[in-house]
């Protein structure tokens, strides 16, 4: 129901609340058979009783509620301009993404333009560096070709290099594509002009999770990567260095047990493809075909711990660590090799809704907050 959209904007872009908490609330009202409208118009007592909202959160929600009418004006304009809203409760929401990112990282609301049904198709992402070499671009082209032939959707991030090649090739081979934007969807005007025909024909879906009017920035570009990985069933890596978005995305994916296919590099190439294979990625040839019995040659660099972790990575790692017990900030930094000061991490942990402070000793210890058992049927 379209009246809900203003409410979804209010919740999805609620500041100072993590997606995991937002999704928790969504799962809760979903299971209570309440709509998001009902949720927003709940009595305060019901918010506390049914949703366990604390004073802070209630204040946040009341603030958001006051802006609903303002969002309605924005929603009207966005719908008029041809943008769609896909809340996480919508049957149109990508089942692949829900499955990959789960309750902790799935964005509660996505904005799209184009054929939403593409999100339900089998999909692959082709990822790699912005300044990838020719051999990587050729690899990208042949993987996109095969995917298009097999009716698989190619997901890419509209960056230079591999991303752009993936999109261009999918279009060239008349396949379908999802463009995941590192910016608000209304700021992609030139792209909409360029891919007009493909959008009209239902072959391209443009997607963004950011506030619709937000312009590009580095944080968005980083935050967009997990969405690309999330939307794809399989991930093909054309070229990765030892840090940056591609790298951390793959590492994260491997940890979650996802199938990630990495192009076997030529001996002359200097990149981290072999390291990824060593870490468990599946080696593939220039056509994207699996290579059996490939052993990655000796790895020259193994300074994995220097990688700059994406924000979301830190979050999930901490949660994972804390699920084994209570730790001080210092201990957490040492164990996870995070490049942060103790003070920064302490402040960060204090704000995290899922973590509580245990003040048994003079040094603060952090642990996962105990919470109500919630059935997660929204996420299967």
């Amino acid at each position: 129901m379209k009246q809900e959209y203003a409410y979804w904007i209010a919740l999805a872009h609620l500041p100072r609340m993590k997606n995991v908490r937002k999704n928790e609330l969504i799962v809760r009202f979903f299971e209570e058979k309440l709509s998001i409208i009902d949720f927003f118009h709940c009595e305060k007592s019901k918010w506390e009783r049914l949703f366990f909202l604390d004073e802070n959160e209630i204040e946040l929600l009341i603030g958001a509620k006051n802006e609903l009418a303002n969002h309605s004006f924005l929603v009207e304009d966005l719908l008029e301009q041809g943008y769609d809203f896909v809340p996480i409760t919508s049957p149109d929401y990508s089942p692949i993404m829900k499955n990959n990112l789960k309750q902790s990282h799935s964005p509660p609301l996505i904005y799209t333009k184009g054929n939403k049904q593409i999100m339900k198709e089998n999909s692959i992402a082709i990822v790699g560096s912005r300044d990838a070499k020719n051999v990587s671009l050729e690899f990208t082209d042949s993987v996109a070709k095969t995917a298009s032939k097999d009716y698989k959707v190619v997901v890419s991030g509209f960056a230079k290099g591999v991303d752009k090649q993936a999109l261009d090739s999918a279009i060239k081979y008349r396949g379908q594509s999802i463009i995941v934007l590192p910016q608000g969807i209304t700021t992609f005007k030139s792209g909409f002009k360029k891919y007009y025909k493909q959008i009209v024909d239902g072959d391209v879906l443009v997607l963004s999770t950011f506030f619709p009017k937000a312009t590009w920035n580095v944080q968005f570009a980083m935050a967009r990567n997990p969405i690309i990985y999330g939307l794809a069933k399989e991930i093909y890596v054309a070229e990765s260095s030892e840090k940056g978005g591609t790298w951390s995305g793959v590492i994260d994916g491997l940890r979650k047990g996802r199938s990630i296919f990495v192009r076997v590099p030529l001996s002359t190439e200097k990149n981290a493809n072999n390291i990824l294979i060593q870490k468990g990625a599946i080696p593939v040839d220039n056509q994207g075909q699996k290579i059996d019995n490939y052993s990655a040659k000796e790895i020259t660099s193994s300074v994995v711990n220097e990688l700059s972790l994406a924000f979301e990575d830190i979050d999930s790692k901490i949660i994972k660590l804390l699920s084994t017990g209570a730790f001080t900030s210092k201990e957490i930094i040492e164990r996870l090799k995070i490049d942060w000061t103790t003070r920064k991490l302490t402040n960060y942990l204090k704000k995290n809704k899922n973590i509580e402070v245990l003040k048994k000793t003079s040094t603060m210890k952090f642990a996962i907050k105990r919470k109500q058992e919630i059935q997660q049927s929204l996420f299967q």
Binding site: H41, L68, A69, N70, S72, L74, E76, K197, V200
Partner: protein
């Protein structure tokens, strides 16, 4: 808030003692955050129903209203009461509008009036994100219904908006004219637990007459003899723009002070006329129905229609503009009931043609769809791509948007139309339904002409209202019928007028030395058009002498005193030497030398092959040359052609000659078409 408490505040803020029951009922619901539709006649006090609660809310109330004049008046009145009200519309400078938006964001405005079209404006949409919004009002809500008499596409977005507004935000829709069907449509569109409050629509102070005639001339005759006998100032509605001109010039000829008004006039002129109307500068303003909506003049004493409107609800709405002060007001409708050979009444034809011609044929829709499947296009590009008239393009666009097949999207600063990837098939059943419904409405309007019942009773019942009163205010009840029995001298005057009435060709512009010219007649409204057609397209030979005589007469009346050095004529596309021969005859009668030096330097198509001004202009751009420019330098030229349509050819030649240093160029043509596009 109880009614008592509210009425204490009412006294203090608005200086009224009490609410009417239906007013309070409405206000009470709005204060409780509910959605309401209020149907009350003009002059009832609908505005108070949102103005009062607006003063009680913390934030701002936004009123979407199509009526600029009304905005102005209400804002003035509110400001005088010390209530901070402002408006945003096209009459103000962009900077002024921006300032109002800023004030609204800063909480300095309680009541904000805005035209529905503004919802397309990015600055406005952006500004709404930061306002403290308390209530939304839709004024003239019948305009959101396609079944209403005045559907406005811009309101489509307002309906969408209302559907998207959060619960508990009060919404009020108001109208003075809604049949049960329109009411149901509004209710369905606004949705979300809407409560409707409906008052009675009877206007007691109206005296209603229908005058049956057997010709168009009889209308002119009756008016010439009777118009000056009405007290006060009024409005005269004609069915077409051309008729506003003809009627006004006839009254001028008869020494009655009137002026003509239509939507084609520029904003400055329109405002000037509206102001003059307020100050009773003329006996009446002769207008298309573009005038009057929202003119807040309480003492319009009479409204006369020379053509039947499209339905009784149009009629009720248009006459509703009169007599708001409750004083006696005359409402007169003319109807030419003469039947043609097929038994069709003359005055049925024009409104019927509007219904029939309301929609272009399906191929044209398909043309637009196909063009937009390839690329996004603006209106102008679309017209060039499809060779369709602007009026047609606009109808098609509105329909396709309505059906969810295309959408209007902003690309940077320009508006373009996009095909939607999931667009449904064009639904033509809908068009037929609408057409049938419109025909039924039109037939009801004719029923009004011939009804034996009290006329106000007929109108109220049509609107779904049944007031329990005795009706005594029309020529079917208390008053005697009016008929046309003109004086012989008036008839002679009309003949004289007809023979000396020549349409003006408006081509004057600042960057050309071309001046307004004259035609001997309109193309469609006399035998002139028939004669021209026969000669041009049916090998009927040279233009007959009566055309020459009439054209010379038009020339002498308009330009008889001016000196011309040379006659030049428009070289033909393919109708041979008709114009050349005609120009030579004129040259020999007027004893002005003729030149054959204006030539085409490239082939052009016949202008009538193009259906819009852009393509017509493209067709003739750079097409002409003057082989001996010295001959026309610093000269006064009479430029002759047969038919003047969009004026693109004449204007192009005017430019060419201006570049060669010609002093003045005055066009003289046999006929001017009616309703040339752009």
């Amino acid at each position: 808030m109880t009614r008592n408490e509210a009425e204490i505040k009412l006294k203090r803020i608005f200086e009224f003692e009490k609410f009417y029951d239906e007013q309070w009922q409405t206000i009470d619901m709005l204060l409780r955050g509910e959605r309401t539709l209020l149907i009350e006649k003009t002059g009832y006090g609908k505005s108070l129903c949102f103005q009062f609660p607006a003063t009680q809310f913390d934030g701002i109330t936004i009123i979407f209203s199509p009526l600029i004049a009304l905005m102005r008046d209400q804002v003035n009145t509110l400001n005088k009461k010390g209530i901070s009200a402002k408006y945003i519309n096209s009459e103000q400078l962009p900077e002024e509008n921006s300032q109002v938006m800023q004030d609204a964001i800063n909480g300095k405005v309680k009541i904000l009036y805005i035209a529905p079209e503004r919802q397309e404006n990015q600055e406005w949409v952006e500004a709404t994100r930061n306002m403290n919004l308390s209530m939304i009002v839709i004024d003239e809500a019948h305009t959101i219904s396609v079944w209403g008499h005045d559907f406005r596409p811009a309101f489509r977005r307002i309906i969408n908006l209302v559907q998207l507004l959060p619960q508990k935000l009060p919404v009020l829709a108001t109208t003075a004219t809604a049949t049960k069907r329109v009411q149901a449509d509004i209710e369905q569109q606004i949705s979300g637990n809407l409560t409707t409050i409906r008052g009675n629509l009877l206007r007691e102070n109206f005296n209603l007459f229908v005058i049956e005639t057997k010709s168009e001339d009889e209308k002119l005759l009756w008016l010439a003899e009777n118009l000056k006998n009405f007290s006060g100032t009024g409005l005269l509605y004609t069915g077409t723009r051309v008729n506003t001109e003809i009627y006004a010039r006839w009254f001028d000829f008869m020494g009655i002070k009137t002026t003509n008004y239509n939507a084609g006039l520029d904003g400055e002129t329109r405002k000037e006329i509206e102001k003059g109307l307020m100050n009773n500068k003329w006996k009446c303003v002769v207008s298309t129905n573009a005038l009057g909506m929202g003119i807040d003049k309480p003492d319009i004493r009479f409204i006369i229609h020379t053509q039947i409107p499209a339905s009784p609800i149009h009629y009720y709405q248009e006459i509703g503009r009169a007599g708001r002060d409750g004083e006696k007001t005359f409402i007169i409708l003319f109807y030419n009931s003469k039947q043609d050979e097929n038994g069709i009444q003359e005055d049925y034809k024009l409104p019927k043609a509007f219904v029939d011609g309301g929609r272009p044929n399906i191929n044209k829709y398909q043309k637009v769809i196909n063009a937009l499947k390839q690329e996004p296009l603006g209106e102008r590009q679309l017209m060039k791509k499809t060779n369709l008239k602007q009026t047609q393009i606009r109808v098609i666009k509105a329909d396709l948007i309505e059906q969810g097949i295309i959408r209007e999207v902003k690309y940077d600063k320009s508006k373009k139309y996009e095909y939607r990837y999931d667009a449904p098939e064009l639904n033509t059943v809908k068009f037929d339904e609408l057409r049938n419904s419109k025909l039924k409405d039109l037939d009801s309007m004719v029923d009004y002409v011939f009804t034996k019942e009290p006329r106000m009773k007929f109108l109220c019942e049509y609107l779904g209202d049944n007031p329990p009163v005795k009706f005594e205010n029309c020529d079917n009840s208390k008053y005697k019928k009016r008929t046309v029995q003109p004086d012989k001298s008036t008839v002679n005057k009309l003949i004289e007028f007809r023979e000396t009435y020549f349409p003006i060709l408006e081509v004057k512009s600042n960057n050309s030395n071309i001046a307004n010219g004259v035609a001997s007649s309109y193309y469609g409204v006399s035998n002139v058009g028939i004669a021209l057609h026969r000669c041009k397209y049916e090998n009927g030979g040279a233009f007959p002498d009566f055309l020459l005589k009439l054209t010379l007469k038009a020339f002498r009346k308009t330009f008889g005193n001016q000196h011309f050095d040379l006659i030049v004529y428009v070289p033909p596309t393919d109708s041979g030497d008709l114009v050349r021969n005609f120009a030579e005859k004129i040259s020999s009668v007027l004893k002005i030398p003729i030149s054959h030096k204006l030539v085409k330097q490239r082939e052009t198509q016949q202008q009538k092959a193009f259906h819009n001004g852009y393509l017509k202009r493209d067709n003739v751009r750079g097409a002409f040359n003057y082989t001996e420019p010295n001959e026309i330098t610093n000269k006064n030229i009479l430029l002759i052609d047969d038919i003047f349509d969009s004026g693109a050819t004449i204007i192009e030649i005017g430019k060419l000659m201006t570049n060669f240093g010609t002093k003045t160029i005055i066009p003289l043509v046999i006929a001017r078409t009616v309703g040339g596009d752009i």
